[in-house]
Symmetry: C2
Subunit: 245 residues, 2 copies
DNA sequence: GGCTGGATACTTGCATACAAGCTATTCACA
DNA sequence: TGTGAATAGCTTGTATGCAAGTATCCAGCC
């Protein structure tokens, strides 16, 4: 993505973006609005746009070489997602991290994940091959210290559990609220030891799933979901400007 | 709201909408975009805009006496909410009801509501006065056959349970997915007998909550959440054009 | 009669122009 | 030197114009 860097406040090299690959756009007209949205979501999640950062529509439009219209549509969706706060005639800012919201996200995630776990346990013989594969990928990410890859396979693992449960869209509901939590985790990185523990917990969860051991799974998921939250207070002390409440 | 009727396809009386009450807008600049969004959400929920109905940006703009810009922003948010489907150069339609999505919404709602119930049970002495009050209001709505009022207090009751649990925002996550379910319920109305049963179930749930009886509460909530879903197949047979999958 | 081709009207996507409002700086004046 | 008010520069909100693509309908042809 060449436009990744375009979001951080650095002098734009003023390079035009001619619609590249008019052949590739078979069935993906990729609206500019959507591209801006995805760009902003990942930028906020990855803390390239820190909590509280000022977002000017005109600035964003210039940086991304588009007009204000698609930027505005993307921002409207981001407000719904709770990632952006806009005060009508004053300005737009990246939303601050609310530990209360993070705790609510933890609640939603834990509750739904436990429920999904329970549903999978009802399956006489769930297919955990994909889960095992993802665990291997996480091990690899750990050895190569590739945090981005770990995050991706972490998401994929939890998503897969919901897929196995038969409720894949429920994961989307979790993800919406989890965005707050993701920023907190990002703030704690890099922490190789934490990654090690997370992978071990993932392994235990998959084991419990295969054994259809609901009580153990419940305890593991609960502990797992609360892990990121534990870091809240210390991270808040370290970056007080990023938090609210 | 004078613009309620303006959404259904009937000849517009061509009445200007002069910004009424310029005094009332003390601290509520109420963006046009938001008004359009709220208007469309309630119209879709209340089936004034039926599933599959064609939504033309220009038509909507004319009907609501605004320009296309706020309409477009509202539609973008509605797409995120899963209520609207837009095909780039073809058209915009109210999303069809997917029984699979409804089932997923049921799963999310039931799981989170049980979790919230469990959390409230942990409270030594929860304050159920508001819940009892809402039950009274529901009884009144039943006697007067006021379905809209019943819906409102129904929402309020479930919302209150989440508030008591300490996770009020979790209810918002439920509500997002519940929109699909709401349309299904609306399709089944009016059914006074069903309202009677729903109120009775609500009463039992509050009783169980007060008694901190988790197993009973779990069973009641599960049954309660599945009630609307039971009507799915028959409603689909009755209105095949409103469904997909 | 059935089918194919083209023009027309409609759709959404994007860019630009204008309007309204808030903030902060700065300049005038006491 | 301190205070205050006007102004300039920003912000977001809305309207409008243009471009590109698609479906439809009607005429002409086989």
């Amino acid at each position: 993505m060449s436009s990744h860097r375009a979001l951080v406040p650095e002098p734009t090299p003023a390079g035009r973006d001619p619609r590249l690959s008019p052949v590739t756009r078979d069935r993906a007209p990729t609206r500019t609005s959507d591209r801006v949205y995805d760009e902003l979501v990942s930028a906020i999640r990855e803390l390239r746009l820190v909590p509280g950062a000022s977002l000017s529509e005109t600035d964003l439009a210039e940086r991304l070489h588009v007009s204000r219209t698609p930027v505005r549509e993307a921002l409207a969706r981001l407000v719904d997602a709770g990632l952006v706060r806009v005060v009508p005639q004053v300005g737009t800012r990246v939303g601050l991290i609310s530990l209360r919201d993070v705790e609510e996200a933890r609640f939603v995630r834990e509750s739904l994940e436990v429920a999904a776990f329970e549903k999978v346990c009802a399956d006489p013989e769930p297919d955990v091959t994909v889960l095992r594969e993802l665990l291997d990928r996480q091990e690899h990410s750990y050895r190569t210290e590739d945090y981005d890859a770990f995050f991706a396979s972490d998401e994929a693992l939890h998503s897969e559990i919901f897929s196995l449960s038969g409720y894949p869209r429920a994961w989307q509901a979790v993800q919406r609220m989890k965005l707050q939590l993701d920023r907190l985790r990002r703030l704690a990185l890099p922490d190789l030891a934490a990654v090690r523990e997370l992978i071990d917990e993932h392994t235990k969860i998959v084991d419990a799933l295969e054994a259809a051991d609901l009580p153990t799974g419940r305890a593991l998921i609960s502990r797992h979901a609360r892990r990121a939250l534990e870091l809240g207070p210390s991270l808040r002390a370290e970056h007080p400007d990023y938090f609210t409440d």
